[in-house]
């Protein structure tokens, strides 16, 4: 078994940060949480990540700006954008900006898991969530 890829979570709401990291823990996926995009960018300098889950509304650099920066520097890191704004313009900006997936809060864990698995595979690192029923279905 190779070392599982680390998933980065950028979320300023502490309750949600902890909830997400516990969810990934029960799925057997290692993760690191950040309360700001800037902190994640510093960590990215010397740590590889398998996937990034980012909120949109953040203090400082927003989730969409972060996505744009990563794409500008040619990063292939898949980015899943989550937001509590059911706003079609944010959704289209996220997807046009190259987000791997876009989820509105509150989302089902199944949905997140599906996107995570496919994102990790696309990133060439087969993340294997410790799951009885696995993989995305149509």
């Amino acid at each position: 078994m190779f070392e599982s890829p680390v998933i980065a979570i950028v979320e300023d709401d502490e309750a949600l940060r902890e909830a997400l990291s516990d969810l990934l823990q029960v799925l057997g996926l290692p993760c690191r949480t950040f309360d700001r995009a800037e902190a994640f960018l510093v960590a990215l300098e010397h740590s590889p990540f398998g996937c990034l889950i980012s909120d949109v509304r953040l203090p400082g650099i927003s989730g969409l700006d972060l996505l744009q920066r990563l794409k500008q520097r040619g990063s292939t890191l898949p980015v899943i954008i989550v937001t509590s704004y059911a706003d079609s313009s944010i959704r289209s900006r996220a997807l046009e900006g190259g987000a791997y997936a876009y989820l509105t809060k509150p989302f089902a864990d199944e949905a997140l898991l599906r996107h995570l698995n496919s994102a990790l595979r696309s990133n060439g690192r087969l993340g294997d969530a410790n799951e009885q029923e696995d993989g995305p279905d149509g």
Binding site: E18, A19, D22, A86, P106, D109
Partner: protein, 698 residues
């Protein structure tokens, strides 16, 4: 000594290489005729004694050739030749006089040379042949007073009129200008002053001075009594180049035996130039004519100013003020508190003595005569202003200004800025009151303020949407944490080794997030707790008009055709203008969105108001969208029901709350010809309605 400047070289003929220096100041005072010519015989300087000797003023003579003035040009040329050869010439010359005859003079001419010995100019001294003496009644000291008031005029603008008059004359039809005041006016208005000498400026240009007269029309300065004479003389010389016309002017008290002489420039290229000289002895610089001429000009100027002006006579008030000050009154404001009758007195004894055209127009009057009465009427609508105007005068201020209301002659109330200019210490009798109508400006300001308020409303209306989005976000955060924590707990519980400690931890978090969500809801409710809605009589049509302001742009941008049928004489309803506006804006925005989604070819919104059952005011808006799904008709006003992707579903719920709180009701139906129609009705102001139990619509 501007007069000398005029006696030298007019600007348009100046020649930098030739300069009559300050030396001419001496010659100005000489009793002998003194002239300076350039080498070609053109007159460069012509002193007052020359004006008296030949009758020609310096203006009109400077620049002319002495040969032209000579009765025998050929002889003159010969003499000139001799002069230039020998350096001096003396003898008799015959020259044309302005009165048409000729003057024989004894002259001595000398060529002056420059430092290198080159001929520079010629000076001539001369006097009338026959050694006539001046009458003893002409002391030397008065010589300068006999100089002509002379004018150089440009008639090019009135040439068509002059030609028409000339044509009538030549056909013997006689154009008696005295019978045609309109021609006189046109002629004198169109004739422009090119130059005047100091004397003319002194006589009639009092306020303007020479500089102010040049370029203006001669009619603005020429005294009334001589207007017909001047016009006739100009017309007479206009048709005959060689003619010189002169006429005595009826005595005015300013000049004794005044004679006006008019002649036309002999230079072909200046055929529209006419010279005028007025000869006569001034009786007194401050003579009646001078004063009347300047006052007349002053009146004329005031009458044509674009500001409404009134002249008021303060003389009676000045006496009263003098008496009060003698009695030791120094604080008039305090004195008026004890003697309010003084204000009435002032309003009665201070009289308007003149008003200009603009004032007549401002007050919707017919003539300045309407104003000739005590000034009280002016302050009738703002009595306190009269008091402050009087106090300012008493305190010796030179001006006072404030905004007040005036009642016009036809009963309108206008907002005006009143500016009073008090006379200086040397003239205590007449003040000027300027009135600037600022009604429109204030109205515009009020409209802007109203618009600002409206924008605030618009902002409030759009905030409703913002607020809903914020609420969604705030509540979604803890909900999202609850969902994720719950699902994570379930995953732990479904494993072969359930981590109960972890599940307990997660469950604690679920509870705290749920509390947080509940707190947020409470906070929002507190934030949106409304003030009591207003209940004022409103015309719903006005509310509709205002609501349309907010959405008109959207409607036009989408090329939706909007039909608005507002019932006339709609009875008033009692309500809160802003809330009802919100309802109508919301319904209109819904209609626009329905048309957007419908993408049908027909894009139309029909809006109407009317009365039903005599005691209900009805509003209806019908759009050409797809209508409402039958299943949704019953739920459309429910809170958080929405058919839009990003809708929050509180708009129609809020509308319903507002209408119900107003004692009315709102309904929706699909129309047979397509689209949806929203209708609400409200009780009229006097309809008996059971008090609504109130509704909260946060």
């Amino acid at each position: 000594m501007a007069e000398m400047a005029a006696r030298r070289v007019p600007a348009d003929q100046s020649d930098a290489s030739w300069n009559v220096g300050s030396e001419t100041e001496l010659a100005d005072l000489a009793s002998e005729s003194v002239m300076v010519f350039d080498l070609a015989g053109n007159i460069r300087y012509w002193n007052p004694a020359s004006e008296r000797l030949y009758g020609w003023p310096a203006i009109g003579s400077v620049g002319r050739s002495i040969t032209e003035m000579s009765s025998n040009a050929e002889l003159c040329v010969k003499q000139w030749h001799t002069l230039l050869q020998e350096g001096t010439w003396a003898g008799l010359v015959k020259r044309r006089a302005s009165c048409g005859g000729q003057v024989t003079a004894v002259v001595r001419q000398t060529v002056r040379c420059d430092a290198e010995g080159r001929p520079r100019d010629i000076v001539e001294y001369g006097q009338r042949a026959g050694k006539e003496r001046y009458p003893s009644s002409f002391p030397e000291i008065n010589l300068h007073r006999q100089a002509a008031a002379s004018w150089e005029l440009d008639t090019s603008h009135v040439r068509p009129l002059l030609e028409a008059i000339g044509d009538l004359m030549s056909r013997g039809l006689g154009a008696d200008l005295a019978q045609r005041p309109d021609w006189i006016d046109e002629l004198l208005t169109g004739t422009r002053i090119v130059n005047v000498n100091e004397r003319a400026a002194h006589l009639v240009g009092a306020h303007a001075g020479r500089a102010g007269m040049i370029g203006e029309s001669v009619g603005a300065f020429w005294p009334r009594v001589g207007r017909a004479v001047l016009a006739e003389l100009i017309a007479a010389v206009a048709t005959d180049r060689s003619a010189t016309s002169m006429r005595k002017v009826a005595p005015d008290g300013i000049l004794r035996d005044a004679v006006v002489t008019v002649w036309r420039s002999e230079a072909l290229e200046r055929s529209d130039t006419v010279f005028v000289a007025v000869n006569g002895v001034i009786d007194d610089d401050r003579s009646f004519w001078y004063l009347r001429a300047s006052e007349e000009r002053y009146r004329k100027m005031i009458h044509q100013l674009p500001t409404a002006l009134l002249q008021v006579d303060l003389s009676r008030m000045g006496q009263t003020f003098g008496e009060l000050k003698t009695e030791g009154v120094s604080d008039l404001d305090a004195y008026l508190d004890d003697h309010p009758e003084l204000l009435d007195f002032a309003n009665g004894v201070v009289r308007v003595i003149d008003a200009n055209q603009k004032a007549v127009a401002l007050f919707n009057g017919t003539a300045p005569a309407d104003f000739i009465r005590p000034v009280g009427f002016l302050f009738a609508a703002s009595p306190e202003t009269a008091r402050r105007v009087i106090v300012a005068r008493f305190e010796g201020r030179r001006s006072y200004s404030e905004v007040m209301k005036v009642r016009t002659f036809d009963g309108q109330i206008l907002d005006v800025r009143v500016s009073v200019t008090y006379p200086g210490p040397q003239r205590l009798d007449v003040a000027l009151i300027g009135l600037e109508d600022i009604t429109e400006r204030l109205r515009t300001e009020r409209r802007l303020r109203q618009l600002e308020t409206d924008f605030t409303h618009a902002a409030r209306i759009s905030i409703l949407g913002e607020l809903a989005t914020s609420i969604a976000h705030e509540v979604n955060q803890p909900l999202s944490a609850i969902v994720t924590n719950g699902e994570t707990s379930l995953r732990w519980l479904s494993r072969d080794d359930p981590n109960l400690v972890k599940v307990g931890e997660l469950t604690t978090r679920v509870v705290s997030s749920a509390r947080r969500a509940s707190d947020i809801v409470k906070r929002i409710r507190g934030m949106a707790a409304k003030q009591e809605p207003e209940r004022l009589p409103l015309n719903l049509n006005d509310v509709v008009d205002e609501a349309l302001l907010f959405v008109r742009h959207d409607i036009e941008a989408r090329s939706i055709s909007l039909s608005v049928k507002l019932a006339a004489d709609l009875p008033a309803v009692l309500g809160d203008r802003i809330q009802l506006q919100q309802v109508i804006v919301n319904l209109l925005v819904n209609s626009i969105q329905a048309i957007d989604q419908g993408n049908g070819s027909l894009q139309r919104i029909d809006l109407s108001t009317g009365v039903e059952d005599g005691d209900k005011v009805v509003f209806s808006v019908h759009d050409s969208g797809l209508g409402i799904a039958v299943g949704d008709l019953d739920r459309i006003f429910d809170c958080f029901f929405t058919t839009k992707d990003d809708g929050v579903g509180i708009g129609l719920a809020v509308c319903q709350s507002i209408i119900i709180a107003h004692g009315g009701s709102i309904s929706v139906s699909n129309c047979p010809d397509g689209g949806a129609e929203f209708r609400f009705w409200l009780p009229t102001q006097f309809a008996r309605i059971s008090e609504p139990t109130g509704g909260t619509y946060a």
